[in-house]
Structures are given as C-alpha cells and as structure tokens.
C-alpha cells in the first residue's frame, strides 16, 4: 500500500516571500501521479498542480512549482510571491496506475496548514 507523509503540520510565511511544503511517499510502482490540493477555509478542495512520474521535468503553474525527486520519493511544493489568498491547508496526494487498475484512487497526506501573514 502506498503512504504519503507531510512532515510539516503548520507553516507560515510573509506576504510576497517564498515557502516550500514537503511531501514524501512510499510506493513500489514505477508509473504514478502526484498532486497538490489546496483546501481554503471554505473547505473546497482545489487542485494546485499535478506531476506525472514518467516526466522528468518539474511541473509549474504560475507561482506554484514542484521539486519532484523520483529516486528519493520526494515531491515538494514551492509557492513564490505568497499572497494572502494562499492561506489554506495543502494536501499532497498519490495516484497509482498499477496497470490501469488503480481506479483513480487518491492517497492523501495529513496536510500542512499554511498561513500567509501581511
């Protein structure tokens, strides 16, 4: 079974600065997908960024980028130019592809609460 670990229960950052959230995972699969989801106080889950394990290039989405280290099974999220609206809980999630029979199931980490201070 896959596991996802987020070792930082809480983080804080000043507005306009950069912050990195950590995530490690454990799997025996070679082909899989990793996600970062954001859950603001409204509790709506929002996809931030996605990475396919077979792609060596790190994914980027505007101010959000990842550092994907497949050998180390590490998948960190960097938020640049932090904004007050980035305040939320962030979840790292794993989706295996076990020959296409994983049924798209997600395994989530425990989350990191990020607070952006003005």
């Amino acid at each position: 079974a896959q596991t996802v670990t987020q070792s930082q229960p809480e983080m804080s950052v000043q507005e306009a600065e950069t912050v990195t959230l950590s995530c490690t995972y454990d799997t025996s699969e070679n082909n899989y997908y990793l996600f970062w989801y954001k859950q603001p106080p409204s509790r709506q889950m929002i996809l931030v960024i996605r990475q396919e394990a077979y792609k060596q290039q790190n994914a980027t989405e505007n101010r959000f980028s990842v550092n994907f280290q497949k050998a180390a099974k590490s998948f960190s999220l960097k938020i640049s130019d932090s904004q007050l609206g980035d305040t939320a809980m962030y979840f790292c999630a794993f989706m295996g592809n076990a020959g296409g029979t994983s049924y798209g199931k997600l395994t989530f980490g425990q989350g990191t609460i990020l607070t952006v201070h003005p």
């Binding site: 509790r43 889950m45 996809l47 809980m89 592809n97 049924y103 798209g104 199931k105 997600l106």
Partner: protein, 116 residues
C-alpha cells in the same frame, strides 16, 4: 461545464439515527465517483469508489455503505450513526478514459456531519 453537488451542506444527527448523503454530477457521463471522509480537519480517507452503476468498492470496514442508483448519483448511507461517524464528507468525480484512470479528481463542496 461539469459541476458536482452535495447535500445537505450541514447535518446534525443523534447517535443511532439513519444517514443519507447525496452527491450528483452534472455535465459528464460515466464518471468514476468517490466518497472521502476528513476527520478533525486533517487528511482525507477514501471510503468508497464506484466505476459504474451498482458497482461499489469499499476501502475500509465501517458503519457506512454507499450506493450508485444512477450514472451520476452517489449516495452515502448508514442505518445507525455512531459518534465516530462525525466528520466532513467529500464526494469527488473523475473522468474515465478506457482503463486509464490518470485524471484529476474534482471535489464537491462537502457535508459537515455532527453526530451527538
């Protein structure tokens, strides 16, 4: 465009009472559907998933059950609620492309359940 609805948004129920939470998806067909529970504002735990009408898979043994009576409707039920059933319940859907399930999941707004 696709949308996902959940109701009710908030529910307070006594221990031992029945439960029915509903999730519907609009704007797509033949989706994969999922029920998650989030306890104490922490990580999400997958409870059930469905790849078609009447097809339900359970991830963890528990006091809950799920049903999919229609293609875009997913229901979470219990005959007798326990205190430990309290939590935030999220429904999600994803597209299916043949046997490849590598698409993102889209989440509903959630239901906050309090069992007293």
């Amino acid at each position: 465009s696709q949308t996902i609805h959940q109701w009710p948004a908030t529910l307070v129920q006594p221990v031992g009472s029945p439960l029915s939470l509903e999730c519907t998806v609009e704007g797509t067909s033949n989706p994969n559907l999922y029920w998650y529970r989030q306890a104490a504002g922490r990580g999400l735990q997958l409870l059930f998933y469905s790849v078609g009408i009447g097809q339900i898979s359970s991830e963890v043994p528990q006091n809950l059950s799920a049903s999919r009576p229609q293609d875009r409707q997913f229901i979470l039920s219990s005959k007798k609620l326990l205190l430990s059933d309290s939590g935030f319940y999220l429904c999600a859907w994803s597209r299916r492309q043949g046997i490849i399930f590598n698409n993102e999941q889209f989440f509903g707004p959630g239901t906050r359940l309090t069992v007293l």
